[in-house]
């Protein structure tokens, strides 16, 4: 009887973690669609690293470890980092990749400095750096799931309200500007949504692996469709799949951390999609090539009708 109660308790924890991971997967999958289509896949990596000083400052100022406060600090720092990247690219000849690299690494370094300051004060209530780097999906509580649900829900609603505008921004920025859409406002709006998804995901998979949560579901979804709405729906589904799958695998095998397992699940979905997706997939392309070869042979082409270049 005692065993049974432990079992249901374990299942309950697992269920909470799985729901949290699923919610995160769907939000980051959907928003990642925009990032991948705008060729800003690595912005997520930069934002998640740039969030560290925000977390440290939020902790230094309030002394609290409440997730909502830390998430708020992370969001502000991530947002500032993105703004710096965008303005460096706009005002100088420095390219996007260099701007990302310098902001990502130096913000993180500054966060590390603040973190060592916190450690030195000997406060027992430290903001865990390991948690930030790798996430601790296993510690997701019911209240965290609620936070993820509410903030993710708000982000999704904003995304649907501005569906038309964001779609135009992604596919034809100059046209959007020419018919009078406020490009810079929309750009900042989209980036802010991305920041929300990222800081929510930090707790589960951590800064280092967050970029995969944005990129992988969207890249996988891209292989199956050419429609934005379908792609976003599929990306969200793949995100859920990776989140739940990773949680279950890591809980059934001993000493396998959840975050990396989720990432590997998402990568497996990408691998499968690239190989087997109809039309775009590699296997499909190979079959098409074989069929073309055969039909060329049937129509009498034996490969000799091209004049081969001769040495003379």
């Amino acid at each position: 009887m005692e065993n049974l109660s432990i079992l249901t308790h374990l299942d309950y924890t697992l269920m909470i973690v799985a729901i949290g991971a699923a919610l995160l997967g769907s939000v980051s999958g959907a928003l990642g669609t925009y990032a991948v289509l705008r060729r800003q896949s690595l912005l997520g990596d930069a934002i998640s690293h740039a969030a560290l000083p925000g977390i440290a400052i939020a902790f230094l100022l309030t002394g609290s470890k409440t997730p909502l406060i830390l998430v708020f600090g992370a969001a502000i720092a991530g947002w500032l980092g993105t703004l710096l990247i965008l303005s460096v690219v706009r005002l100088t000849r420095i390219k996007y990749d260099s701007a990302l690299g310098i902001v990502l690494s130096t913000f993180f370094g500054f966060g590390l400095v603040l973190h060592t300051l916190i450690q030195r004060t000997g406060n027992a209530n430290q903001a865990g750096l390991d948690t930030f780097l790798f996430g601790q999906a296993a510690t997701i509580l019911k209240s965290d799931v609620l936070t993820i649900g509410i903030l993710g829900g708000i982000a999704s609603i904003i995304m649907f309200v501005f569906w038309k505008e964001l779609k135009l921004l992604v596919f034809d920025e100059s046209f959007a500007a020419s018919i009078g859409f406020p490009i810079r406002v929309l750009d900042i709006l989209l980036t802010s949504l991305l920041v929300i998804a990222i800081v929510l995901g930090l707790q589960a998979v951590g800064a280092v692996l967050m970029s995969a949560m944005l990129v992988a579901p969207a890249v996988a979804a891209r292989q199956w469709t050419d429609k934005l709405s379908v792609m976003m729906f599929l990306a969200a589904c793949f995100g859920v799949l990776a989140g739940v799958g990773g949680t279950i695998i890591s809980s059934s095998v001993s000493r396998i951390p959840t975050g990396p397992t989720i990432v590997l699940c998402a990568t497996a979905v990408v691998g499968f999609s690239i190989l087997f997706a109809p039309n775009r997939g590699l296997l499909w392309g190979w079959f098409r090539q074989q069929r073309n070869k055969r039909s060329l042979t049937l129509s009498g082409y034996d490969g000799s009708s091209y004049a081969q270049p001769q040495d003379d």
Binding site: V36, R39, Q40, S41, L42, G44, D45, H49, V88, L91, T92, R93, I94, K95, Y96, D97, S98, A99, L100, G101, I102, L104, S105, T106, F107, F108, G109, F110, G111, L112, V113, L114, H115, T116, L117, R120, L129, D130, V208, L209, S211, A212, L214, V215, A216, V219, R222, R255, I256, P257, G259, P260, T261, V263, L264, T267, V270, I274, R280, L282
Partner: protein, 369 residues
């Protein structure tokens, strides 16, 4: 104690310069984030090699990790070549997957090895002088100084020997290919070098801050100069300055040395971004302000020129009514007139404004007469 100060700063400078040199080519070739990818993706290589060698500074470990780095580059390029994944997404897919494998390996076999995750990711420069090279009982200095020194010499030799080739491949790949220089070979040579440098440096500064050393100084130097040779020199100097100032910042506040070096990298970049002539924020702001007045002055001069010598000239050039004709704000109009007077484009005669010879020349030039 003084010896430790010197040792750490020496290691920091050598590491920073060794990272900055190949970084220049990464920044110019828009491949900065490849260093981010490599520095994360070498983790499984480090872990696997560590299982065999049980030491973080063994040459075998550096080779294995560098191999993983090159493998990352190959995987990213293969993904791109399928045309199904863009470059940025290919990078964003590859390194988290490899890094995840590394993390899982560490936690699966954590009981058997003593590999400190923080040491790999964040490094600890302060401990670097403790591991010393002893030959026949003589203390020859810290091991990492020799490791990074060798890597620095390797980078220097590569860049000096293949300077012309690297320059051509960086600025015009097609021409390089047409002339028979092998761009792919040079590309992989550079990537191998970046991998080796990253592995060597992660011991000192960790895998995330390596990116600050590789991307920071070249990006800063890129704001200052147009010449490749000067950019290389400046990057090395800026890298050294960041390293030394970061070290003293860390000493002063008793914080992470690597973190402080990264912070100094950001500060130095910000400072240069602010004040550098022509491309800095201040220069941009001043140029925009000057252009605003220049434009207004040109408008004024053209207005006067159009009505010069005609019956309505007196009404059109009256100081009190000028703003009505140009539909400007009265205060703005006064400022523009003052600007034009200072530039001797116009002269004031009682209530009238008349063009000077140079003002007429300006108007003629703009109107192409």
């Amino acid at each position: 104690m003084i010896q430790d100060h010197l040792d750490i700063q020496l290691i920091a400078i050598v590491t920073a310069v060794a990272c900055a040199l190949p970084g220049v080519f990464l920044v110019l070739r828009r491949m900065t984030l490849m260093s981010d990818a490599i520095s994360h993706a070498i983790l499984p290589g480090i872990v696997l090699a560590f299982f065999f060698t049980e030491s973080l500074s063994s040459p075998l470990l550096i080779l294995a990790a560098a191999g993983t780095g090159v493998l990352t580059v190959v995987v990213v390029e293969l993904l791109q070549r399928t045309k199904l994944v863009k470059e940025d997404a290919a990078i964003g897919l590859t390194f988290p997957a490899l890094f995840s494998i590394g993390v899982i390996l560490i936690s699966r076999f954590a009981g058997n090895v003593h590999l400190d995750m923080d040491a790999v990711l964040l490094g600890e420069l302060a401990y670097a002088p403790l591991n010393r090279l002893n030959i026949f009982g003589y203390d020859l200095g810290p091991v990492s100084l020799y490791v990074m020194g060798t890597i620095l010499l390797l980078n220097l030799a590569f860049i000096l020997l293949l300077y012309k080739e690297l320059k051509l491949v960086t600025f015009d790949v097609s021409l390089a290919a047409a002339l028979g220089f092998a761009p792919t070979l040079i590309h992989y040579g550079l990537m191998t070098l970046v991998s080796v440098t990253t592995v060597g440096a992660f011991d000192a500064v960790g895998s995330i801050l390596v990116v600050a050393l590789i991307a920071g100084p070249p990006t800063t130097a890129y704001l200052i100069t147009n010449r490749l040779s000067l950019m290389l020199t400046l990057s090395a100097i800026i890298g050294g300055v960041n390293a030394v100032s970061g070290y003293w910042l860390a000493y002063l506040f008793d914080v992470s040395i690597a973190g402080a070096i990264a912070t100094m990298t950001l500060l130095v970049f910000g400072l240069v971004f602010l004040v550098v002539p022509n491309r800095g924020l201040i220069a941009i702001a001043r140029r925009r302000a000057r252009q605003k007045w220049e434009f207004a002055q040109t408008m004024l001069v053209i207005h006067l020129f159009n009505h010069e010598g005609l019956p309505e000239a007196e009404a059109e050039s009256a100081l009190a009514h000028l703003h009505e004709h140009l539909s400007w704000d009265p205060t703005f109009t006064r400022q523009v007139v003052k600007y034009a007077l200072n530039n001797r484009c116009v002269s004031e005669k009682e209530t009238q404004l008349t063009l000077t010879e140079s003002g007429r020349a300006v108007a003629r030039q703009v109107l192409v007469q």
